[in-house]
Symmetry: C2
Subunit: 159 residues, 2 copies
C-alpha cells in the first residue's frame, strides 16, 4: 500500500455541526448550504446518510471553529423553513484523512485505517470517502495517537 497512500492529513481546528431530522425532500440541502454560502461560511465535509423513515434524515458538516457561532445563528434562523429537531455543535473533533490514489481498487486502504484506529480504541464518529481520500471524525484528544498509528500502519514513518 506504500504506493497507494501518500499521506495522512489532520485538522483539529474544525467544528462539526449536526442537524437532526431535517426534512428529507427536494430543496432542503440547497436551502441549508445556500444560506451558509450566502453568509460566506466555508463548509468542508458534508455527510448525509439514508433516511430511516423516508421523512427526515440527519446532515453533518464541518466548518472552521471560528465560524461555528455564526453557523448556528444562520441555521437557527432557518429552522422553521427546513425543520430540524436539533442542532448539535461540537468543537472537540478532529478530521483525519488518509490520502492516496486509486483507492477504490484497493479495498484494504479504508480497512487499514479503520483497523488501526479500532486497535487503539479510537471510535470513528463520522466517515466520508472518495477514491483519493478516506476521512473520519474522531474526538480531538486522540489526534496524536491516531496520526502516529496511521503513519506506522501505512509505512509512512521513515523520512
Amino acid at each position: 500500500e506504500h504506493e497507494t497512500v501518500t499521506g495522512i492529513a489532520y485538522s483539529p481546528d474544525e467544528a462539526k455541526i449536526t442537524l437532526r431530522r431535517v426534512g428529507d425532500k427536494p430543496g432542503v440541502a440547497a436551502n441549508i448550504f445556500g444560506s451558509l454560502a450566502k453568509a460566506s461560511i466555508n463548509v468542508d465535509m458534508i455527510v448525509q446518510n439514508v433516511s430511516e423513515d423516508g421523512n427526515a434524515t440527519d446532515i453533518t458538516f464541518t466548518i472552521s471553529q471560528t465560524d461555528s457561532a455564526r453557523t448556528s445563528e444562520v441555521l437557527h434562523n432557518l429552522r422553521n423553513e427546513i425543520g430540524f429537531s436539533d442542532l448539535i455543535a461540537d468543537q472537540n473533533v478532529t478530521k483525519i484523512s488518509v490520502i492516496g490514489v486509486g483507492m477504490r481498487s484497493q479495498p484494504g486502504v479504508a480497512t487499514t485505517m479503520f483497523r488501526t484506529l479500532g486497535e487503539k480504541g479510537i471510535n470513528i464518529e463520522v466517515i466520508s470517502t472518495s477514491e483519493i481520500k478516506v476521512s473520519v471524525l474522531i474526538r480531538s484528544e486522540y489526534t496524536e495517537l491516531a496520526v502516529r498509528a496511521l503513519h506506522t500502519a501505512y509505512g509512512l514513518d521513515s523520512s
Copy 2:
C-alpha cells in the same frame, strides 16, 4: 465557477447497502470493511453520520451491482459480531459527482449542485464530499434529468 468545476460523473451501476444500527464502538468499521476486503469486494463511497444515542449508528456504502448478493452474504454472516438491526440493499441508485478543484474555498459549488437537483424535484438521499468532489446518491430514474441539469448549471454544456 467554470474554472472550479471540471466535470460531472455518474455511475448508475452501483448498488447501495445500508447497515442500520451497527454498534458505534471501536473496531466495528474495521470488521465490516475488513470482511468485504477479504472477499475482494471493492467498496466505492462510505458514509457514516453521527450516532444519535451514542450506542449505534448507520453505515451506508456503495459497491457494484454485481457484488451486491455476495456483500449481503458476507455481512449476514457477520451479524452476530457487528450487530446491525437491518441490512438494506438498493440497486436503484445512481451516484452523481460534481468534480472540481479547490471546492472547499468555493462554498457555492455544493449549493449549486443541491439547488439544481432540488429545483428538478430530485431528492438527495446520501451526501459525501471532499475538496475535489461532491457526491450524492439519487433514484436512478432521475439520472438523465440530473446530469443534464448539472451540465447546464455549471456551464459545461457547450463542447
